[in-house]
Structures are given as structure tokens and as C-alpha cells.
Subunit: 302 residues, 2 copies
């Protein structure tokens, strides 16, 4: 599992810094999460192949999280893409994108599928044999979802010495890896624990931006490998959190702690701060493993 | 009069190059012309003050000419702008921008005025005492206008020696500068030519992108100080001009020649070419004063 930050600043792009967008590489999928203006250029700079992106997850319809989407959709088309693209986001996103395609008379030559969201409860929105994606309903000024990406538990590992020792036929290997016990020809039951070891631990990633402090999400993301949580403000500006429905670095750390996350990544910094180290320091008072997101930063969770 | 190129590439942004946008500084106005994705970042990089931009002219609704507009409108708002912003562009542009503002619940705190265009004849769309802006209807796959920015002729200059020689009262100076003759107290008529010299020559700028070869525009832009004309292709790909409704560098040069432009600026290069010098060389076969647009390039016409 690998995460690349394409942009992580709040509200407006700066001269050289971008608003929210990131790519998560999990179970061989490249999931694009949010798509601020200039995301397509950031993808090029990070050498992410456009064709590998088949799913885009938009948290909410504030511009710093989706103004780059129409450009991406359009560029994919101009480059002759044929692979389907699935876009998950709040109700309304389809109208915004299709209106612009209509006005420019440029319908895509590839399949463009919108999955519009409007539920206020967590939903399973993507699933295959390797990975699931769930919404994490957040508390912001407009309808907003975070996303929880979770590997599925893999097969148990055969203990080959034991398997050969019991002289088990190869035909049973697949079911044993799935956790089944085996009954030998003489009727003896061999419990699965004797034949296998546990599968590698699953990895998961929770993206939570933008949101006010919302402790109720910690159950859903319990034990997550990495949590990206917005920290628009420092505690000194906590009074701004209520009207804007954003969080402080301290609050992000409290969520990480309560959720027993392995790692916290902070981002979505307000422009008012020059020294981002203050975010890290504030969060580290409450949670041990904190990293600051930065444009172009890569995280590996292996 | 000064022109700054913010982006000049066709179709899609590159890793470090932008699609069409430019700022024209004329008669103390900063006119933004087209607004490809990332224009707001390019404005910051070129240190153009956002507050000086009060008029935006969009040629057509292909993404490489306007996908940056919603970001600009939104950022102006987030920065607390109070000055009105006027947007001139094809019918439909208002719906695209206002839909996105509506979805993000972020109406602007400043006056946002749309001037939607749909005429196929040149129209005077802006005028004050110093400058006029006219549309130049072009021939593209969607409804498209170029724009002609023209200084108004200034006052004639007083020849002070002559004025004093005739002992003319100061009260007449203003009307003399406007070209009026003077009748002295003894009844003698003094012709204006004896009292004044011609005003400084007016400057003008024609932006023509995107368009197929359209010689009929040369009358309207006759004698223009600088002509920016798209040159998507080289002559070797002229067969692509008809289906895409674009021009070659040669065709741009022929327009400049026929219009008796003082200077030709080429831009809107297709991605297929690595060596942009070929555009300059091709155009120079037909017109003498050719410059290539590049991101960040500044032109002074003083």
C-alpha cells in the first residue's frame, strides 16, 4: 500500500502548492482521492500513469477538492482513453461534469460512470476480491464523505511440512488456504490451525477531509494502518472550527488515538500558517506517529 | 501596452506548461483573456495582482480555454474580494460557473457579472474613455470569439510656443487639444494644425484563438499593433485543419500580412511537435515579425 500526496493545502492553490488530491495504490488499484485544480499536472509530475486510474473518490463539492476533475475527465478523452472511469462523489457532481462536456460538445469516448452519494450512514461503495471501499460520513458545511480503503484478508499460508506430513492431496490445498479443516481417508479430522499460519496482516487507509471534530468515526476506522485527517487550524484558532466545520491538529491526533491508528498524516493546512512544524508538534502531544503531508510526498506502508 | 502569456498550449496542460491564458495591460486595465486550468497559479507566479483583474474574456467553451475560471472566481471570493468582476464569453458560461457556486454553497461576496455572447457579427462589448473591446467572430467547432482591444485616440499635443505666440487664453486649451480651431479676439481664425501636433499613435491587440483560417477578419484588425493568432499545426499537417477547425503557422502569417499587423505572436501549439522553432520558421516565410508565445513570456509594445 502506497500513498502519494498531490496536494494538501486548504481553500486555494498557492504559487507552487496544490489543493487536495492524492493517489492510493492498494491491492493493485490506483484510487484517486479528491481532485483539486491542477491535479492532472501533479499526476504527470509524479509520473502516475493516467490509464491506471479507474476510480475517483470526491469527498465534497468545495472547489479545493474537485475543480481539477473536469480537466482530468477531458484530458483522458483527448488522449484517446478507452478504459471506463468511475467517479464517486456527492449528488450534483454528475450535473457539473456533464454540463461542461455538453457545452464543449466533447462527450467522452470512454465509459464515464457516476456513483452519486447522499447517505448519511457508512456505505460499502466498492468491493472486489482484494479490497473494499466504504464512505465515512463527515461533518462539514456541505455534504461530505471520507473514505475507508481496506484490503481483504488474504489466504492463510500452508505449512508445507505439515501438509506433506499428513500426506494431504493437492486438491485440498485451496480449501485449506481458505481456512477449512481436512478429514483424512482414515477419518481423522486435522484442524486448519495445524496446517496453516495466519495470512499477512491487512492494510487499510482512512481519508478524512474536510470535517469538524467527529469522534463517532473512530469505531469505523478502528486499527487503521494510516489515517489522513484534516488539520486546518492549530488549537490557538480552535474558535474558527465551529463556524467553518474544520478540525485542529490536536483534534486530528485525538481521533487517531481513539481509533488506535498506526499512523496519522496531517494535511489541509490553512494559509494563515507559515510554519507547518507547529501542526506536527501540536499533534504529537496526543499521538506518537505523526507525519505532515506535503505536495509530492510518498508514503509506503509495507 | 504589455502582454503576459500565462499559457499557450493546445488541448491539455503538460507537466509544466499551461493551456491558453494571457493578461493584457492596456490603458491601465488588466484584461484577462481565456483562463485554462491553473491560471490562478500562473497569475501568482507572474505576480499579477488579482485585484487588478476586473474583466475576463473567454473565447470559447473548450476546456483548455476556461477550466481555470471557476477556480479563479472561487479564489477571489475566498480572499475577500469586493471589486466587481465582469466575465465575457459564450452563452452557457454563466450556467457552468453558477451551478458550481450553487453546489458548493459559496456565492461570491463581490459582484459577478456575466456578459454572454451569441452574435456572429463583431460587437463592441466594452468601452470607456481610453479603450474599446470588440469581439472578432471566429470559425471553430464551437461558438468562438477572438477579441480586439484598441486604445482610443488621445488628445492632440499643444505646441506651446505657437499657443503663447497667439496669446490664446488657457480656457481654450482643452478644446484645442480635442482638435478645435480658435478664433482670436480680432476675428482671425487659427487652424488647429498650427497649434497642435498629432496625438501618440494608438495601440491595439487582436487575440484570435481558436480558429480555422479566416481571411475575412483582416479588415477588422487592419493595422493592429500585435496579433496573437493560433497556430495549432505546421503546414505538413494542414489536412488536420479542416476537421479540427484550427490553423497552421503559415495561415497565421498570411492573416498577419493581409491585416498589415506590426507583429505576429504564435501560440496554441499541438502536442505533436517538440521543436517550436519550426512554427516561427514557417511563419517567417510569409511575415517578417514573428514571435513564439511561451508560458511566462512578456511583450512590451511601447
Amino acid at each position: 500500500m502506497q500513498l502519494t500526496i498531490l496536494g494538501c493545502y486548504a481553500a486555494t492553490p498557492r504559487t507552487y502548492n496544490h489543493t487536495t488530491s492524492q493517489v492510493l495504490n492498494i491491492a493493485n488499484h490506483m484510487f484517486l482521492i479528491d481532485c483539486g485544480e491542477g491535479t492532472q499536472m501533479q499526476l504527470r509530475r509524479q509520473k502516475v500513469k493516467f490509464s491506471r486510474i479507474k476510480h475517483v473518490f470526491i469527498s465534497h463539492l468545495h472547489g479545493d477538492h474537485f475543480f481539477g476533475l473536469i480537466g482530468l475527465v477531458s484530458t483522458f478523452n483527448l488522449l484517446g482513453r478507452e478504459t471506463d472511469l468511475h467517479i464517486y462523489g456527492p449528488k450534483g457532481i454528475k450535473e457539473i461534469i456533464t454540463l461542461q462536456l455538453k457545452m464543449s460538445k466533447s462527450w467522452t469516448g470512454y465509459g464515464l460512470y457516476f456513483h452519486e452519494l447522499s447517505s448519511n450512514s457508512p456505505e460499502l461503495i466498492f468491493e472486489n476480491d482484494k479490497v473494499t471501499v466504504e464512505t465515512i460520513p463527515l461533518d462539514h458545511r456541505v455534504y461530505t464523505n471520507g473514505y475507508l480503503f481496506k484490503e481483504k484478508e488474504g489466504d492463510r499460508k500452508l505449512l508445507m511440512n505439515e501438509v506433506l506430513n499428513y500426506d494431504i492431496d493437492k486438491a485440498y490445498y485451496r480449501s485449506i488456504k481458505k481456512g477449512k479443516d481436512v478429514t483424512l481417508e482414515d477419518g481423522t479430522l486435522v484442524k486448519n490451525e495445524l496446517l496453516t499460519s495466519a495470512p499477512p496482516p491487512i492494510k487499510s487507509y482512512a481519508f478524512c477531509s474536510d470535517t469538524a471534530y467527529l469522534p463517532s468515526i473512530t469505531n469505523q476506522i478502528k486499527g487503521v494502518t494510516a489515517l489522513y485527517h484534516e488539520s486546518t487550524f492549530l488549537e490557538s484558532h480552535e474558535h474558527l472550527c465551529k463556524p467553518t466545520k474544520h478540525s485542529t491538529a490536536k483534534q486530528a491526533a485525538l481521533i487517531a488515538k481513539e481509533a488506535e491508528a498506526k499512523q496519522l498524516i496531517l494535511g489541509h493546512y490553512s494559509t494563515r500558517y507559515d510554519d507547518l512544524q507547529l501542526f506536527k508538534e501540536e499533534a504529537e502531544t496526543y499521538f506518537i506517529n505523526v507525519t505532515l503531508a506535503e505536495d509530492g510526498k510518498r508514503f509506503s506502508f509495507d
